[in-house]
């Protein structure tokens, strides 16, 4: 009897936490299709879009469908979420490709070639895991100014002007460099687990070292690359601090940055429908990736922690 009561209590606790975690999410989605007026009048019920508005006969109040559409139009078009979204896709996509390519190359060499200084190189990269982003933030800010000036002078014969501040390329370079330690750690572990005989076989069959890497090792390391890609995707898509410091121009803002600045105006104008719609736009891509790849993601956490 006691045992059964205890079990019921455990389920009750789990259910409470489940509601606490899932309800806010549903609430955001529901409020994103309500007008600001409905958010105040009917914040917790089923949206009027589904059950019908009590103000249906009042022409002065927009129909639920129009209100829902208006939130997303206000966010996507008027508040430039389309541009934030585009910037985030570019920054995350290019950084991700760069991180994976550069880390895979370095990790493969570290894992499979016992050259002199191999251990030192590995430790050099891994020491970056101990460095908090905040430590390099300020010097990088000034370094970007110096480098922009230097590169502009260097490229002046070509008439090119280099500006690393307020540019997506600047942000991408930083994201790649800062993600290297973690990614190299994960991928080195992965390449070490691949049999070295594969390389020898490839060489005997007339492959070059590049060929072995490109056609044998890289395809085999796909699970490791996927894990590294998921973690870096989530981290970069959601990154705020560096974007905040290095991007000021509205046209170059990424989603977290854009959401933060739009929300200040939205709260001021009490346009909460806009704010909820903005939250939905930011949350949907990572939620989709999570739902599709949650198995690889949770396996990656285990991998990182058990090895780390």
């Amino acid at each position: 009897m006691l045992h059964r009561l205890g079990r019921a209590a455990l389920y009750a606790i789990l259910a409470v936490w489940l509601i606490a975690v899932v309800f806010p999410l549903l609430w955001v989605f529901m409020n994103s299709i309500r007008s600001s007026q409905e958010i105040f009048e009917n914040p917790f019920g089923i949206p009027w879009l589904i059950v019908g508005s009590p103000h249906a006969d009042n022409a002065g109040i927009p129909a639920p469908w129009a209100a829902a559409k208006q939130n997303f139009v206000a966010a996507w078009v008027k508040s430039n979420f389309s541009s934030f979204f585009y910037n985030s896709v570019i920054v995350t996509g290019v950084s991700l490709a760069g991180i994976l390519a550069i880390s895979a190359m370095a990790a493969y060499v570290i894992a499979k070639f016992p050259f002199r200084g191999n251990k030192a190189v590995f430790l050099y990269f891994i020491s970056g895991m101990m460095i908090p982003a905040q430590l390099v933030l300020v010097p990088l800010f000034f370094q970007f100014t110096e480098m922009s000036r230097f590169l502009t002078r260097l490229l002046s014969p070509l008439g090119l002007e280099v500006q690393l501040h307020d540019s997506l390329s600047g942000l991408i370079i930083l994201y790649i460099a800062l993600s290297l330690p973690f990614t190299i750690l994960v991928l080195t572990g992965f390449f070490k687990s691949l049999p070295g005989a594969l390389r020898e076989a490839g060489i005997i069959d007339g492959c070059t070292e590049y060929g072995v890497f490109r056609h044998i090792m890289l395809p085999l390391s796909k699970p490791g690359l996927v894990t590294a890609a998921i973690f870096n995707f989530l981290g970069l898509w959601n990154e705020y601090l560096f974007a905040l410091v290095f991007v000021n121009a509205s046209a170059k803002k990424t989603l977290p940055l854009g959401l933060a600045s739009v929300s200040i105006q939205a709260q001021y104008k009490t346009d909460f429908g806009l704010m909820f719609a903005g939250l939905v736009i930011v949350m949907v891509p990572t939620l989709l990736v999570y739902i599709l790849l949650q198995r690889q993601l949770t396996r990656g956490i285990t991998l990182g922690a058990l090895k780390g």
Binding site: W17, L25, V28, I110, Y124, F125, F141, N238
Partner: protein, 305 residues
């Protein structure tokens, strides 16, 4: 010999991009941060060497740096302990084959994939003092129900301004626990699933209770991963930035500052690069030693099986 040389070229070309980027954008700035922290500089004029003066000023700054550091420690101990307790509890429950375990696991983890800015804003909305503020509405209901039963305690004027500067550091704790619990639960659960089932069978034969099994089998065997979790939490609460910055509309006060927001404000709004860099260097030292100490402690006590 030719192939030896070729291999060297191969090794070098594969390492070069990573070495170059890491050196220029991580290693060099790390060293420069130390240099800045020993200078007085407004970002424009010639920097002036001042030795350890920035660090001394910092520790005398009881209204800013020391308060901010206390806030970090508050988040670390209160937020961290609550997160660890809850996530261990959930992991232990799910580990013992509860029905629907995978549903709970997937759902509890999901706040971790959402942008920290979005989470902070979501909680601003949840804490709102207007009619749609979920938390104030719930508290109001609870107060009314208690009042009907004749209980008028605690006397709090609702709606309560949770995200007011004065209270925001406390209001962040539920947000932090809400977000992090799922992550640590998944971490601990994965470690628990590596424990051989035979250990539990033997314990059951000996009549050990569920709690005794947890205390004497599960916990000792996941201790190493548990330590990793502690390191993550310590580092995370030292580096805490996004939520405070967003909830305070980019203007924290001495009621709400943490180390990272002090750093940002000093450098980018007050142009006091030396002071800000001193905070950054201390942050690094704290992260470094916290990691080292915790890992050292765990190595000694790690159990093999």
């Amino acid at each position: 010999m030719k192939t030896r040389g070729e291999q060297r070229v191969f090794i070098f070309t594969f390492l070069a991009p990573a070495l170059f980027l890491f050196t220029i954008f991580v290693a060099v700035p790390s060293v420069r941060a130390l240099g800045y922290s020993l200078r007085q500089w407004d970002g424009l004029s010639t920097p002036k060497w001042v030795g350890l003066k920035n660090f001394i000023t910092l520790f005398k700054d009881s209204d800013l740096f020391l308060v901010a550091f206390q806030h970090n420690l508050f988040l670390m101990f209160v937020g961290g302990l609550l997160t660890l307790a809850l996530s261990l509890f959930f992991a232990a429950i799910l580990h013992r084959r509860v029905r629907g375990a995978s549903l709970f696991r997937v759902a509890f983890f999901f706040p971790n994939v959402i942008s920290s800015v979005a989470i902070a804003l979501l909680w601003v909305l949840l804490y709102s003092t207007t009619s749609f503020g979920v938390i104030n509405s719930l508290l109001l209901h609870a107060q009314q129900i208690l009042a009907q039963m004749g209980v008028t305690w605690p006397r709090i004027d609702l709606p309560f301004p949770f995200v007011d500067s004065k209270y925001v550091i406390y209001s962040i704790i539920p947000m932090m626990v809400w977000t992090a619990t799922g992550f640590y639960m998944v971490l601990f659960l994965a470690a628990m699933e590596n424990i051989p089932e035979t250990f539990y069978e033997a314990a059951k034969l000996d009549g050990a209770s569920e709690f005794a099994q947890f205390r004497h089998i599960t916990f000792p065997l996941i201790r190493e991963v548990f330590t990793v979790g502690v390191v993550f939490l310590v580092i995370g609460s030292l580096k805490f930035f996004d939520a405070i910055w967003v909830m305070e509309n980019q203007q924290p006060t001495s009621d709400s500052h943490v180390l990272a927001t002090v750093l940002y404000q000093k450098v980018f709004t007050e142009y006091n690069v030396g002071y800000g860099s001193a905070v950054a260097v201390l942050l690094f030292i704290l992260v470094f030693f916290a990691t080292l100490v915790t890992l050292r402690l765990s190595r000694k006590e790690a159990l093999e099986y």
